[in-house]
Amino acid sequence: MLLNIISSILIFTGVFFFAVGVIGLLRLPDVYTRLHATTKCDTLGAGLVLLGLALQGNFVIGLKLVVIIILLWIANPTAGHVIARAAYNSGIPLMKGSFALDKTSKEKGS
């Protein structure tokens, strides 16, 4: 019974973080700020929902879910970084009023 309550709290907290990420994806003004919202909120939300599910199954199911969580925590920030680097190198502009300290540009020769 207590395990069910803890699991429900974890699952609904994860869904709340997913909702925050989607609001950021829809409302923020820029590619980079949208990536800032979605990658963190998605990683945390998926981790919490899968952790809440892992408390409910037996050992093998819990182990599979922990493997999925570790894979997501490696893959999701990597995907966000790759998208941001591709967007910056292909010249998508920042939002109006912001500036970049450019250390990765190809013109500078690094």
């Binding site: 869904v15 999925i68 790759v82 680097r85 967007a87």
Partner: protein
């Protein structure tokens, strides 16, 4: 507990359709790739919830493979967007 799984899965489905709005109107290609990445991670969580809802534990393997394929798709599309070629 099945009610909890059902409510969470339906909420995530609604949020997925809200992500499709950004994937449709996104001004640049990077917006669309970011939205599709979010949809992929949400779909993975929905598959895990459906696995617990129906009591079929092999759906978790489907979720694992889906997460891997979504990550590969994101990296491939981002590389194509940056360099213009694949490989």
């Amino acid at each position: 507990m099945p009610q909890v799984y059902m409510v969470a899965a339906i909420s995530l489905l609604v949020l997925t359709f809200l992500c499709l709005i950004r994937a449709a109107i996104g001004p640049s290609a990077a917006d669309r790739v970011a939205a599709i990445n979010v949809i992929g991670s949400k779909t993975m969580v929905i598959i895990s919830l459906v696995s617990f809802l129906f009591g079929q534990e092999f759906f978790l393997d489907v979720a694992l493979v889906y997460a891997l394929i979504a990550f590969l798709m994101t990296v491939g599309v981002a590389k194509y967007m940056e360099k213009g070629v694949l490989g």
